[in-house]
Symmetry: C2
Subunit: 435 residues, 2 copies
């Protein structure tokens, strides 16, 4: 098969660490990879030429914590505490979920991710093979984990682990290598010590990562402390669960000892500011984590507690929330926020050899942002400021993942918007009627 | 002249207090006003028919505190304290401003306002007659005030007051009545007691409102307290400055006595969360103000400290910031946020007889939001949640002010985007070169 060549001309490249400000570059994509970056590339056999003049080229954004199928539950219940929201509203609807609903929800979320510039997401939920189907069709890159909950029940523990292992067997490295599988023990308050220990053992054996919620609410801290006599990170450390392959979502309530534990174990943190604010969970000490050289990435959480999947909005919120909560306007600069949304996310998902920056040899996961929009004019000389503080997902013009164009000039290529919107509306109507 | 008639069909109306959920309505606009709202209006002579099926019709949003010309300074300086940002970056550029630059900056800001659904804004800056020109051409509604600063200098005081009076004489009720003029003493730390007292007297005589920054930073509290022996609101109360016609921007640092003072005087508050977060000024006690039945409206501040003018983003931030700072997920619900962005803004600007709700007899200041977008599907049964938590300004499809269509299907009608972007880029380049 001949190579598929995409040539991007005149791009202003914004890499998280390394900004060719004001110097335009041409980028050649050969199949799934970035093959060349230079001042001028002329290639007569390019299958596709994209003129990026007036646009900023960024690495595709990385959303390290979401529950994509829950996009179906957007706006289902708002202005409630995590407990009321989860127990009284989300869990009853989830009781009637099936694979088809999760597939539709994931497709709906995939559209939103593509349209707002995210090319890689890390998901934890149920019916994950159906989510994998949606990933395959959408062209996105994903890390998928099955959310294991045993509440100490041995039978359930076995079947939950079985389910995650089945996902690993069936989907790891699927969709042309765009899908990786992680283990997904839900949290230290829903997964037993036995489950967590078993997961740690399996993760070492299989050499795959772990995705878990830790220290989201004060109530969780109280519950874990009263059960285990230790705070969540202390407890997880005490049972040997933590390591550089563990991505912890939320991690809002941390004392200094826990920050030490996170650092010592090189644990990765997925910060979810909009969800933490909306559910009034609290403010994660992100500045302090970054000062300790801990890898902090970003996540939107599910659309049902956010209520969207716009990672640019999430990064602005992350930056602004740290500034105001520390009363330090220099906290989480736009450059740092950009790293959280790209290379830090790649590191958290152990994909930093492949994605997170624009470099020759890396996967062609790229987005173009059109600065010729009212909210981005005049173009600041600081490109990251213009992206993080002024833009939102609607300014993303083109999304490319694994060398495939998923959206061009805001028109989706891989998915049929209208059809999926209609099916999503039908699905939530059925789920509500079943209550 | 024959009447100009616009008929909007099949709209789902979202009024701040009164939600006709799931019942579609037709709305007839006659010249500048809403003439009829009913289940079905058939009018053969309508000059224009808009099909609003699948869209939500809202009152135009009201931005109660901005400096529109400063849109030119978007991204000029970021990640700095208010002091460094203002003294070292903004003031030096402002030294070379002139009326033409302010006109271009205001036009640029006007485009952004129209494209994100704001139909009324309250502005305080310099060269305000040039801002008035931009308002006139854009078709927007505005309350304009000249930012008076005397630092205790008597000469300067006189000329500053003269300038605001000239604005009043030349622009009040201009642009078909779409422009009102307020007095704009800059703040209690830049305007002397004499200036503030003179403004109070003139405001009573002329029966026009006052727009002022109060209690934005801790430093301001310290400075005013050390000079006057009183905190800012206590000081303003002691000199008889406060009243129901005073709109105070920011009002971040308030003790209980000051909240009492605000309530007693029926002062209006313009909350600016993104700017307060970005400059690390602090978190205003909005929930507490609302509990005290104080009118809290919303503002973006200038784009140079935000860095955009998206009022929907601002309202989401306002809601989420209160939830997390009070640890109460029920704080500032989406319904309350919607009020802040519409009727509360109208009240703050003394325009609530004319705008802020969709009612027969009020001005036709209306926006349509298209819910057939990835970030708003599935359409929640709670319309305000879908707008406040899921949407952003890019979901605004149509903007109407004073019965004139300013944008339809995201295409601007009154202003030439490309020309204004080009002029804005040129203007900031010249201003930077002059440094």
């Amino acid at each position: 098969m001949p190579d598929n060549l995409i040539l991007i001309k005149n791009a202003l490249i914004l890499n998280p660490d390394n900004d060719f400000t004001d110097e335009k570059r041409d980028i050649l994509i050969k199949n799934d990879k970035i093959a060349e970056i230079s001042e001028e590339i002329i290639h007569e056999n390019a299958d596709k030429i994209i003129d990026a003049a007036g646009k900023i080229l960024l690495p595709g954004l990385v959303n390290t914590h979401t529950h994509l199928s829950m996009t179906l539950f957007r706006g289902l219940a708002d202005d409630l505490s995590l407990d009321e929201w989860l127990n009284d509203n989300i869990w009853p609807v989830e009781a009637n979920l099936n694979g088809d609903y999760c597939y539709i929800g994931a497709l709906l979320g995939a559209i939103e991710l593509i349209k707002s510039g995210t090319t890689t997401f890390s998901d934890m939920y149920f019916y994950m093979e159906d989510v994998a189907r949606a990933v395959d069709e959408s062209g996105l890159r994903a890390v998928l984990s099955y959310g294991m909950i045993d509440f100490g029940d041995e039978e359930r523990r076995k079947s939950e682990i079985e389910e995650n292992l089945k996902l690993l067997q069936n989907c790891n490295n699927a969709a042309d290598g765009r899908i990786n599988v992680f283990f997904g023990p839900h949290s230290p308050y829903t997964a037993s010590e036995e489950l967590l220990k078993e997961v740690r053992k399996l993760a070492d054996e299989c050499n795959i990562g772990i995705h878990i919620h830790v220290s989201e609410t004060q109530k969780e801290i109280e519950d874990v402390t009263s059960q285990k006599g230790l705070r969540p990170f202390e407890y997880l450390d005490s049972i040997g669960f933590l390591g550089p392959d563990v991505v912890c979502a939320h991690s809002v309530w941390l004392n200094d000892n826990e920050i030490e534990i996170i650092k010592k174990n090189n644990v990765k943190i997925s910060h979810n500011p909009c969800s933490n604010m909306k559910l009034a969970s609290g403010i994660a000490p992100v500045s302090k984590l970054l000062e300790n050289d801990i890898c902090v990435a970003i996540g939107t959480d599910g659309a049902s507690s956010n209520n969207n999947l716009d990672l640019i909005e999430e990064l602005k919120t992350a930056s602004l929330l740290q500034k105001v909560s520390t009363l330090d306007p220099k906290a989480v600069t736009s450059d740092e926020a950009l790293k959280m949304g790209t290379i830090n996310g790649a590191q958290a998902l152990a994909l930093d050899d492949e994605i997170g920056t624009i470099e020759v040899g890396k996967k062609a996961d790229l987005i173009l942002i059109d600065t010729n929009n009212a909210n981005m004019v005049p173009d600041s000389s600081n490109l990251s400021s213009n992206i993080i503080y002024s833009a939102n997902g609607s300014n993303v013009d083109t999304t490319i993942c694994n060398g495939q164009i998923l959206m061009e000039n805001r028109k989706l290529i891989t998915l049929d918007e209208e059809e999926i919107y209609e099916k999503a509306r039908e699905a939530i109507k059925e789920l509500k009627n079943a209550l």
